[in-house]
């Protein structure tokens, strides 16, 4: 085969490659699923936001735990927070605990957030020192909510905001022994400048 023919073959390969490249980029997911489903909850010590002391996520064996990552700079976190407060109140004393992890935030902004949008006893608000909890849970942005079953296994993750009724129906599914899996409800925010 002559040099010119080789060159045309090369050009043809580049055309195919370019189209393939375009198609592959278009297919890329922007928010991947989590591989943490059906794995044990990380044994993390998390300091309380508004008092001394800490909790460990492994302290709640026997209860369903809803772990919610949020921050004051995250608009969908603001939208979903009242629903979490309401759900925490509804499930108080019924074997469902709520752990709200304030991620990459400041103390004053976090407290102001809670002053405005609410707190309740069954919602334990903690901080995430050095974002280690975010790494252990593999989060790409906020909000992110994880469902832990009574055996301490992660059985569900929601990427994006969760409204009140969706929250309680998901808790119901976990209570029934179902694995919720990973699902996306909307965009996530990655930092204060997002």
């Amino acid at each position: 085969m002559g040099a010119k023919k080789l060159a045309w073959v090369g050009i043809g390969l580049m055309v195919v490659f370019g189209g393939f490249l375009a198609g592959r980029i278009d297919l890329a997911e922007t928010v991947p699923d989590t591989p943490l489903i059906d794995t044990p909850v990380p044994d993390l010590a998390l300091p309380l936001l508004e008092s001394s002391g800490e909790i460990r996520l492994t302290d709640f064996a026997g209860d369903i735990v809803v772990v919610n990552f949020w921050a004051s700079w995250c608009p969908p976190c603001r939208a979903e927070h009242p629903g979490f407060v309401q759900a925490a109140q509804a499930f108080e004393g019924r074997g469902v605990r709520f752990v709200s992890i304030d991620h990459e935030d400041t103390f004053d902004a976090a407290v102001a957030f809670l002053d405005e949008l609410g707190r309740t006893e069954n919602q334990i608000v903690v901080v995430d020192p050095e974002s280690r909890a975010g790494v252990e849970f593999g989060i790409f942005g906020l909000p992110a909510t994880f469902f832990i079953d009574r055996d301490g296994m992660i059985v569900g993750k929601v990427i994006g905001p969760v409204d009140y009724l969706s929250l309680i129906s998901l808790i119901g599914q976990v209570d029934a022994g179902e694995s919720v899996g990973a699902r996306t409800t909307g965009d996530v925010y990655q930092g204060p400048s997002s």
């Binding site: 090369g10 580049m14 055309v15 370019g18 189209g19 375009a22 943490l36 009724l165 599914q173």
Partner: protein, 333 residues
């Protein structure tokens, strides 16, 4: 000199390829090298080693800790993929399409080198001269010119093909359900409806209101079959997909009933209230709510709702009978 000139440029190409694949990837510091192989999850386009966001700094610190603790490179990479998935790595993917993606440019460079070598060899051997066919004399361009043509042309064509690929994206096949969607749903099985809904969600081409109509229809089927778990899942999906007020009200009313029969009366009441807020004339939600109130011995609150339901057009006879029975019962108490 002839042999040197013949192999100089192809040799230079081989060195460039080797540098890119082997030498260019390492700094000598394992932690930094690993940081360059892991993507910052908050940045998309930067590695952990490059990014200054808090999460990336922590990940870099974790890498350093594990290197110091004697973890192997693969163990450290596995630590992060176990939490974020394989997309956290900046390494080339190992699936078939990924291998194709990464091997074509290398193949192109190798092909370019072969063209150069062939062109050089032809120039050194001189043009072909034949008395019988003088038109077969060919001239070979200089090697550098050939290299420039191959590389520059490949770059230009790749850029053009990329843009062309973006324009010529395949159109999603949306002709899954023919005719009027809502009127044909009765003829479609649950499984078919599930897959149809999933396809429309994947393509994103169907307006939310139409997709919700399909999803509500499927949820209603499950509800009638008392399969409350899939019913809840689909009602929930409707609520999360910009529902019309009537659609939200229908989903909330049914979810309220599911909650009520699962002894979640308090949250069921909230669902009914939200259903009626979204669409005040939802007689079904009003009927369900009235039943909850009567069972909770809150008849005074139930009576107005029952009266509203009794006035609703096209009420099923058995429901109308039950409503009148309850009104009589409350009126006499």
């Amino acid at each position: 000199m002839t042999r040197f000139r013949r192999w100089a440029l192809p040799g230079l190409l081989a060195i460039i390829i080797a540098w890119g694949l082997v030498i260019g990837g390492g700094t000598g510091d394992r932690a930094i090298d690993l940081g360059n192989r892991i993507r910052c999850p908050k940045c998309q386009a930067e590695s952990v080693a490059e990014s200054q966001v808090p999460t990336a700094i922590t990940m870099a610190r974790i890498i350093r800790e594990k290197v110091d603790a004697g973890w192997s490179d693969q163990q450290i990479l596995d630590f992060f993929t176990a939490r974020y998935g394989p997309s956290i790595l900046m390494d080339p993917p190992t699936d078939v399409s990924g291998i194709i993606l990464w091997s074509v440019p290398v193949a192109g460079i190798i092909a370019g080198g072969l063209i150069l070598a062939r062109s050089q060899r032809r120039r050194e051997s001189g043009p072909e001269i034949s008395e019988e066919a003088p038109e077969r004399i060919e001239s070979s361009p200089p090697a550098l010119k050939t290299l420039g043509i191959v590389v520059g042309g490949a770059l230009a064509v790749t850029a053009s093909a990329f843009l062309l690929g973006q324009v010529l994206q395949p159109v999603a096949d949306t002709a899954v359900v023919s005719g009027d969607i809502t009127s044909n749903l009765d003829e479609i099985s649950n499984g078919r409806l599930e897959s149809t809904i999933a396809e429309f969600k994947a393509t994103g081409v169907m307006p939310a209101s139409q997709l919700n109509a399909m999803e509500l229809a499927l949820a209603e089927r499950y509800f009638e079959e008392q399969q409350f778990s899939p019913a809840t899942e689909h009602f929930q999906a409707v609520l999360l997909n910009e529902p019309l007020p009537s659609q939200a009200s229908e989903a909330l009313g049914r979810m309220g009933w599911i909650l009520y029969v699962n002894n979640e009366a308090e949250t069921a009441e909230v669902a009914y209230q939200r259903a009626l807020e979204a669409f005040p004339t939802n007689s079904e939600a009003a009927y369900f709510y009235a039943i909850l109130l009567v069972d909770s011995e809150r008849g005074a609150e139930a009576s107005p709702l029952l009266a509203q339901v009794a006035e609703s057009p096209n009420l099923p006879p058995d429901v109308l009978e039950h409503v009148q029975q309850l009104l009589n019962q409350l009126g006499s108490s």
